[in-house]
């Protein structure tokens, strides 16, 4: 009678092949699992951008509408746009401005969109995304005393997993076709009154700076 060890030696090759194949199958399953979760989020982003595109196309020029849209069922997805004013825009938006829904994982929205995003080219000269925030202005010289508040703008709109309201405006100015997508966050609306402390001059309309609420 052969010992267990002898049995194992006799079937070493078969066992090795079986383990090897199982490892491959396991690897495939894990890869599929994670790539599919990404893909699922991208599918969700695609359906959102389709709705947005259709809505924009169906609007008459020089009009504005409020639209409640569904966000993306995943973390860190944003709505942004690229037009000719951005030299670092993704290749997809090189010849025609576009709107983009991207997974924002780094500090460079351009890179994030190139790596993981869905886009639609639109026939406009300019596309603006306006997501205003209220930021505090500190005393000069690095002081911690808040001198007042100003309005700044994010160039992307965070898309939640549930619903979000945006305003879409189509305008023709000096022969230029302009598309503006605006979102007023709850945070902004709650802090908007603080801008009054700076009066009219409080609205600098800058991008970034200060610290938001």
């Amino acid at each position: 009678m052969k010992s267990k060890r002898a049995d194992l030696r006799e079937h070493t090759v078969q066992v090795f092949v079986a383990v090897f194949i199982l490892v491959i199958i396991f690897g495939f399953a894990v890869n599929f699992y994670f790539s599919y979760s990404q893909n699922k989020e991208k599918e969700s982003a695609k359906s959102i951008i389709n709705v947005l595109e259709e809505r924009i196309k169906s609007m008459p020029e020089n009009s504005a509408v409020n639209k409640t849209i569904q966000g993306v069922n995943g973390e860190n997805w944003v709505l942004t746009s690229f037009d000719f004013s951005n030299p670092n825009r993704p290749d997809a938006c090189f010849e025609q401005p576009c709107i983009y829904i991207c997974k924002a994982v780094s500090s460079s929205i351009e890179e994030d969109c190139k790596n993981n995003g869905v886009f639609r080219r639109l026939n406009y000269d300019e596309i603006e995304i306006i997501n205003p925030i209220v930021v505090s202005v500190y005393s000069p010289g690095g002081g911690k005393q808040i001198m007042g508040y100003k309005e700044a703008y994010n160039i992307a709109i965070d898309l939640p997993k549930n619903l979000i309201e945006i305003q879409i405006e189509k305008r023709i100015e000096n022969g230029k076709k302009i598309l503006i997508i605006t979102h007023y966050s709850e945070e902004y609306l709650a802090n908007k009154h603080k801008l009054l402390s700076f009066g009219e001059g409080g609205k600098f309309g800058t991008s970034g700076g200060g610290s938001s609420f």
């Binding site: 049995d7 194949i21 979760s37 259709e54 549930n162 619903l163």
Partner: protein, 330 residues
């Protein structure tokens, strides 16, 4: 069963056969659910199929089975078209008549939408939002997930005078092709003929959501797996100030169009560890159905949870207060 000629030894040819069978099975599953063109099926069939697929998948993988449900847009307008739905997918336009039939058209549409939604989502008994692997490993907090089955836009100049009463319609009207009323279907009891009495504390429970007239409603399916049922039903269907276990909120339809949209909370009786209930609307015109109990599952470890289908104003504030995440295509 694998044949073993010697203790601990399996024939390599059989092992390879089993591996090939397993691999083939995986390929077929992937092909059926992710690549096969199911365009010939209706959107509702497709949704139902994906619901069943998800519900019967192991918990660790189920979150990655997509719910192929697309929100149906129903336009009820005198001219048969809603400008807001221009360019929308899965759209049905219904021309509203100018006489009293419009009332019935609206009631029928809303009742059918609720029925279709509940039916499509497995009557609340399937575990659809279990959070997958992250939830299994307790990495994810408990939250309410939703599917917006349909959105109904009503464009009628006399809507406030029509006295639309979906609740009464569901109590008295039989579902087409079935021998029970909508109320009996939702209550899962053919002897039911009336709504349970509401426990209303008007000061506490009458909540105003919006100062704007609402003419668009969403039929929302929501589900949660709670630590306790009291919290579950509150999270699914209420925002605050709920008296007692099992309360749901429902929108006014009709009066709400000329006044701030008020939602009332109505008590459910008989809601326990398992069971169906149908809410009574205090003075509103619509209703919500809730199921709390053990979900049906292929696995031994069955989860408990609560599901609800309800008609809500299609507004960010209202829907987001209930739904932390929305699945399906808009």
């Amino acid at each position: 069963m694998l044949k073993s000629h010697k203790k601990g030894a399996i024939e390599s040819s059989e092992l390879i056969s089993w591996i090939l069978i397993l691999g083939g099975f995986v390929v077929i599953i992937v092909f059926i659910f992710f690549k096969l063109d199911l365009g010939s099926q209706t959107k509702e069939d497709l949704c139902k199929l994906s619901v069943l697929t998800r519900a019967t998948s192991p918990q660790e993988a189920s979150a990655y089975v997509p719910l192929k449900c697309t929100t149906k847009k129903i336009c009820l307008a005198e001219n048969g078209k809603c400008a807001d739905y221009n360019g929308e997918d899965n759209l049905e336009n219904i021309k509203l008549t100018k006489d009293n039939e419009a009332k019935q058209q609206i009631e029928k549409t809303l009742a059918e939408s609720m029925y279709n939604c509940w039916n499509m989502m497995g009557e609340g008994k399937l575990d659809l939002f279990n959070g997958g692997l992250a939830k299994s490993l307790s990495l994810q907090a408990q939250s309410v997930s939703c599917v917006i089955c349909s959105r109904v836009k009503i464009e009628n100049s006399n809507l406030d005078k029509l006295n639309v009463n979906v609740e009464e319609y569901m109590r008295t009207t039989q579902i087409e092709g079935r021998s029970e009323t909508y109320l009996q279907y939702f209550a899962n009891d053919r002897s039911v003929n009336s709504y349970v009495s509401p426990k209303i504390n008007e000061n506490e429970n009458k909540i105003t959501f919006s100062n704007n007239p609402v003419n668009e409603y969403a039929v929302v399916f929501s589900q949660i797996k709670p630590e306790n049922y009291e919290n579950a039903v509150e999270k699914l269907a209420t925002f605050a100030g709920v008296a007692g276990v099992g309360a749901v909120q429902v929108p006014f339809i009709g009066k709400a169009l000329i006044s701030p949209v008020g939602l009332t909370i109505a008590g459910l009786t008989g809601l326990g560890v398992a069971g169906f209930s149908m809410s009574k609307v205090y003075e509103g015109k619509a209703a919500a159905a809730v199921y709390c109990g053990q979900f049906q599952s292929e696995t031994e470890s069955k989860n408990n949870g609560c599901s609800a289908v309800q008609i809500l104003p299609y507004e960010v504030n209202t829907i987001n207060k209930i739904c932390a995440a929305i699945e399906g295509a808009p």
